[in-house]
């Protein structure tokens, strides 16, 4: 008998049961636990390549893709996936085989207590920290890492060349960067402990370079391969004490395909220099060239295809 009243009760009952189920789901398990991952499905025929939602990373991924295609591999592009949280599970469960990564940042993702800072130490520590089934091929000389920058005028005024020189600056130093920089080991705490430099922090996020140029901050964390370091006339301060983790470009691969593609990808990594990467970034942001054109031109120029 579905009278209006019964229907109402039924609906209410359904809502209560549904809510109870949903809430108990919250209670019993950690919703952020990615759970067991599937073993890699071989992928001997098609190499799936991913990239971050970062134009520079996408260019490197496209270079990998074209180099592999040239060597006779079938390639599937799965670019622009987002942040590390979003794509690491896909690599771990084998749905992506190859991904351009950065040694230091990736090491920090897996082991946030890591103490290595030089390129070789970081690379060795990263190999140990990676979970089973994943490995890295040779690291490239090209780096894209955090770096502290000031404007040319500010550097000239106080004669700054390294982070240590900041200690002699007599105006308050305001550091701008992404919000998480505040809590990173190389953030305000690291500056104080390693160089004895006290800074105030401003979470300038996406407009960090604009803020530095406008003067709302006088020290900024910018990626070292960012073309605006050149175009906006910034000065990158040296880091003699190794505050920052070295972060070289490194291909993160599924162990199942590592041996097959090692020769092709290692050849690419060896030719990719820091200056070359900045140059690619400039061509992408200033000249608005597409990743596929850039990758093709670069590979031809290097004699790789």
């Amino acid at each position: 008998m579905f009278t209006a009243r019964n229907k109402g009760r039924l609906a209410l009952g359904a809502v209560v049961v549904g809510a109870a189920l949903a809430l108990s789901g919250c209670a019993s398990s950690d919703p952020l636990d990615s759970g067991s991952s599937n073993p890699g499905d071989g992928g001997s025929e098609t190499i799936v390549i991913g990239s971050q939602a970062y134009y520079s990373n996408e260019i490197i991924a496209e270079i990998y893709a074209q180099a592999l295609e040239n060597a006779g591999f079938e390639v599937e592009r799965n670019f622009n996936i987002g942040q590390r949280d979003a794509y690491i599970p896909a690599i771990e469960n084998g749905s992506i085989d190859l991904f351009p990564e950065y040694t230091g940042n990736l090491l920090q993702f897996y082991d946030n207590t890591a103490t290595a800072t030089t390129p070789d130490e970081v690379y060795a520590a990263l190999k140990d920290a990676l979970p089973d089934g994943l490995t890295v091929l040779d690291q490239s000389p090209a780096t894209d890492q955090d770096s502290y920058n000031v404007t040319k005028a500010f550097a000239d005024q106080y004669g700054l060349t390294s982070i240590a020189d900041l200690a002699s600056v007599d105006v308050p130093i305001v550091l701008g960067g992404a919000p998480e920089l505040e809590k990173r080991p190389y953030g305000p705490t690291g500056l104080k402990d390693t160089y004895g430099v006290t800074v105030q922090f401003q979470a300038t996020g996406d407009t960090t370079v604009e803020d530095l140029v406008a003067g709302t901050v006088n020290l900024a964390d910018v990626y070292s391969a960012d073309p605006r370091i050149q175009t906006d006339d910034l000065v990158t301060l040296d880091d003699p004490e190794g505050l920052f983790l070295a972060s070289n470009v490194v291909p993160l691969v599924n162990e199942d395909v590592a041996d097959e593609i090692a020769d092709v990808i290692n050849a690419v990594s060896a030719k990719l220099t820091p200056e070359g990467l900045v140059d690619l970034n400039v061509q992408s942001t200033v000249d608005q060239k597409s990743p596929s054109d850039l990758a093709k031109a670069w590979l031809t120029e290097q004699g790789l295809i």
């Binding site: 209670a27 919000p179 998480e180 406008a214 709302t216």
Partner: protein
């Protein structure tokens, strides 16, 4: 469950007072941006909505604009405005973005409040010799008030939830904890921040619900009751005669 407990522990931890951005300051910033934005939006949208509702002019335009404006992505708008205004005017850019977000609901509340009034009431006022201003202030505004406050209520809710993104452009607010927590994978902090925003939204909604109830003029409820009684009585009589 652990995550929720951790999040509550995070909220009530004494560290929230000594952080670089203390929680109380973040809540203050959050409410400040919410109130300023809703206030400015109301100053623009209420007179405009009343004018549309009273004259009946430009109604289609208002409906189209307020419908389309709801679809504008606030985050994109915020970053765009910051780049246009320049990084030295971030607060102005953010408030502009939130004002644009709040206008559609308030505008809709203002003109639909007037439209919902029985035309006979307004005609009666006019027949009694009221001027247009008297009709506006003594008839339309009091009768349209509950719907207008409903519009303000949904605008305030939307804005209080959206002010979270102000932290992306260094303006603080509770969103700072969420935005900082994401790359650090500090899910306790993210959830803690989200719960505080949620609590703030619920409190605001409760306050507006109360005001909305108080804003209904006494005569309106009485009028509705008599109207309801009239039709069913007649209908029931006809049904009864058929069954007999």
């Amino acid at each position: 469950m652990n995550l929720f407990l951790d999040a509550f522990a995070w909220i009530f931890s004494p560290e929230r007072l000594t952080d670089s951005l203390p929680l109380s300051v973040a809540i203050g910033q959050h409410l400040f941006y919410t109130f300023i934005s809703v206030l400015i939006a109301a100053a623009i949208a209420v007179p405009l909505g009343w004018w549309i509702g009273h004259t009946g002019r430009a109604r289609e335009v208002a409906v189209a604009i307020s419908g389309a404006a709801r679809a504008v992505p606030s985050f994109g708008l915020l970053v765009l405005l910051v780049l246009i205004f320049g990084v030295l005017h971030k607060p102005e850019a953010a408030v502009t973005a939130f004002v644009l977000l709040a206008i559609p609901s308030i505008l809709a509340g203002a003109y639909s409040g007037f439209e919902a009034i029985d035309r006979r009431v307004i005609d009666a006022g006019r027949a009694m010799g009221m001027t247009e201003w008297q009709i506006l202030w003594r008839v339309e505004v009091p009768l349209g008030l509950p719907l207008l406050i409903g519009g303000l209520r949904s605008a305030a809710l939307q804005v209080v939830a959206t002010v979270t993104i102000a932290a992306y452009v260094n303006l603080g607010g509770i969103g700072y904890y969420i935005i900082q927590g994401l790359p650090l994978r500090d899910f306790t902090q993210i959830l803690g921040g989200a719960i505080v925003v949620l609590a703030l939204a619920l409190v605001l909604d409760g306050v507006f619900a109360l005001i909305q109830r108080l804003a209904v003029p006494r005569g309106v409820t009485a009028g509705r009751a008599t109207e309801l009684r009239e039709t069913p009585t007649r209908r029931r009589a006809t049904v009864a005669s058929v069954t007999k």
